[in-house]
């Protein structure tokens, strides 16, 4: 398998996890797996996508079920061990205290090397430089994070995650804030990394074009999973998203794509 940049894919299994917040069940008995491929997690707002990801990158401990990354139970490993396998690009709120781009990307190396270590090792420098180059943010190295556009910031977060040299990558709406070209570039980049990837996306066409498999969530439960062609059916899209859709072939790429519209504006 691809080992670009010292990264090697590992399998991710989410095994019947249930996550509760303040006694309320947010997601229930979710199972999914990803191995050396790009899996999209899609569903309407509030369906529990981010919650599932949080259980994977050790932000929210599931009430039951297991998360296995590279065959190890994430919640039974030490946090640093888990972070050497899995990296995440997530939605954090804005901060008044800002690092420079290079400093931000450098935090990707925390799980590598000693816990008490403020000095930067040569392998850290190499990983940081490579990650910044891949995410296309090397020109921004000395800029303050607060001075960046939303899309630039998103790419820096991707660079930070790549600096972690993960074997599994978890991305929560990574295309948020990106213009169309950068959306396509980011998804292409994700595909060429050769790292197992679980990504939440709102753009169904992006999901159809770049994911090997899709897992569809609705109200905290998996309602479908399979290839884009198997899952993105007009019936399911109507049921889950409340939209009328039809799959068509993109004349430029030859790939499957959805044409959809709101009920009120349909022709027939």
């Amino acid at each position: 398998m691809s080992t670009q940049g010292g990264m090697e894919a590992a399998a991710l299994y989410v095994d019947k996890i249930t996550v509760e917040i303040a006694g309320r069940t947010i997601v229930e008995e979710i199972s999914l797996s990803a191995e050396r491929n790009v899996v999209g997690l899609i569903g309407p707002n509030g369906s529990g996508k981010s919650t599932v990801l949080r259980a994977i990158y050790r932000m929210l401990r599931p009430a039951s079920g297991r998360v296995l990354a590279a065959d190890r139970d994430v919640w039974k490993s030490r946090p640093r061990e888990a972070a050497r396998v899995t990296a995440a690009v997530v939605q954090d709120g804005p901060s008044d205290l800002e690092l420079t781009v290079a400093e931000c990307v450098a935090t990707g190396r925390i799980a590598h090397g000693p816990l008490f270590g403020s000095s930067v090792q040569p392998e850290d420098t190499l990983a940081i430089e490579r990650a910044m180059m891949r995410a296309g943010v090397n020109d921004l190295a000395n800029r303050d994070m607060s001075s960046l556009s939303g899309g630039e910031r998103q790419r820096v977060q991707l660079a930070r995650a790549l600096a972690q040299e993960p074997r599994i990558l978890v991305l929560d709406e990574p295309t948020n804030h990106l213009d169309i070209r950068h959306q396509l570039e980011l998804m292409t980049l994700v595909r060429t990394l050769g790292v197992t990837t679980l990504v939440t996306l709102h753009d169904l066409n992006l999901a159809a074009a770049y994911c090997d498999r899709l897992v569809i969530l609705s109200k905290g439960q998996v309602v479908a999973s399979g290839t884009p062609g198997e899952t993105l059916t007009p019936d399911l899209l109507l049921k889950v998203f409340g939209i009328r859709a039809q799959s068509i072939t993109n004349p430029l790429t030859g790939r499957m794509q959805l044409a959809y519209g709101h009920e009120t504006e349909l022709k027939s």
């Binding site: 008044d96 205290l97 180059m133």
Partner: protein
């Protein structure tokens, strides 16, 4: 290795930050000498230097100073100036850590209720006659009080296992008020018999006047060890600036790490409050100014804040002795006079930016 020619290894920044450290160290040394020569009996800086040299150099140096001057310098003024350095440094480091741990530039040991917690414990020991008063027991009590206040604030601000900066600040301010009133009560209660009241009063406003050599050991040790540990953990402090979610994904046990940081800041603040009382706003102003100058990377922010905080407090303490000479102001009064408007200015700015 030139994989990325544009990455411009931070040599520029590093050189500037190193220079900043050297300049600050020199400034601290100069400020200490000036501080020692300032007072009701002015003593020329060259005599100050010769007395210090006489005490610390292994071979004997002949001194130009008289015996009285030597005593004033060595027994009173030098410990006071050095205590200023230690207290200022400890408060600035504690402030810098608190700010990143709660991701809010308004956090400060004083604003947060930590100083008040330490004061209550120290004042209770003094006025209620609990335990034996020594240079070890009072700092331990103050640390206990500081930690109790910090954890209470932390628990109050926590909801569903998560802490928001806004709630943390609110809880901290409420805690400060509550504890200040307890402190006032303890002082008023004790003021009839008069025992220990003048000491307590100097504590309340924050003062370095009572410094002697015995007071320096524990705060210096705590400052040195804590700063070293914090610098070694600076990458994790940096990660917290990005956010809890990202920090968790980077392998940081955020809740646990935050608790450890609260313990370290309580220790830093507790031991200096035990000696000098609650000196406010140094922990707010200094890290902020330092970040504007050298950025937010804690590897640099922490040591530079320590030096700048020490420098600031020594300089303000000189001013406190000059403004109404021959009497002197409590140094905490002056830091509050400088810091409170600064705090309000920052508050205004931060609420204008994003809520």
């Amino acid at each position: 290795m030139t994989l990325v020619p544009n990455m411009a290894p931070p040599t520029n920044g590093t050189v500037r930050r190193r220079n900043t450290i050297v300049v600050l160290m020199i400034a601290c040394a100069v400020a200490v000498v000036l501080s020692v020569s300032t007072g009701s009996v002015p003593i020329a800086p060259n005599r100050v230097l010769s007395v210090i040299a006489e005490h610390i150099l292994p071979w004997s140096v002949s001194t130009a100073a008289t015996d009285v001057e030597t005593r004033i310098i060595w027994e009173f003024r030098l410990p006071r100036a050095l205590l200023g350095l230690i207290v200022g440094a400890s408060l600035a480091v504690a402030g810098a850590v608190l700010q990143s741990v709660v991701r809010n530039p308004l956090a400060d040991p004083f604003v947060f209720g930590i100083s008040s917690g330490a004061s209550v414990a120290a004042v209770a020991m003094l006025t209620l006659g609990i335990g034996v008063l020594t240079t070890v027991t009072v700092p331990i009590a103050a640390f206990g009080g500081a930690l109790a206040a910090t954890l209470t604030v932390f628990l109050l601000a926590q909801r569903r296992g998560r802490v928001t900066p806004g709630r943390l600040i609110l809880a901290g301010v409420a805690m400060s008020y509550l504890l200040s009133s307890v402190t006032s009560y303890l002082v008023l209660r004790a003021s009839a018999p008069g025992q220990g009241v003048s000491q307590v009063l100097s504590w309340l406003s924050g003062s370095l006047a009572a410094a002697d050599w015995d007071d320096l050991g524990i705060p210096a040790l705590v400052l040195g060890v804590a700063t070293l540990v914090l610098v070694l953990l600076s990458r994790i402090l940096n990660a917290l600036l990005i956010g809890d979610e990202t920090a968790a994904s980077l392998g940081v046990d955020v809740g646990h790490f935050r608790l450890v940081m609260f313990i370290i800041t309580s220790l830093l603040v507790g031991v200096v409050v035990a000696v000098s009382g609650a000196i406010g706003f140094v922990g707010l102003v200094v890290p902020h100014a330092v970040r504007m100058f050298v950025g937010s990377d804690h590897r640099w922010v922490l040591p530079i804040s320590a030096l700048a905080g020490g420098l600031l407090l020594v300089v303000v303490d000189i001013a406190a002795r000059l403004i109404i000479a021959p009497s002197e102001l409590p140094v905490g009064l002056l830091t509050a006079a400088i810091g409170a408007p600064f705090f309000l200015w920052m508050l205004k700015r931060s609420s204008r930016g994003e809520a």
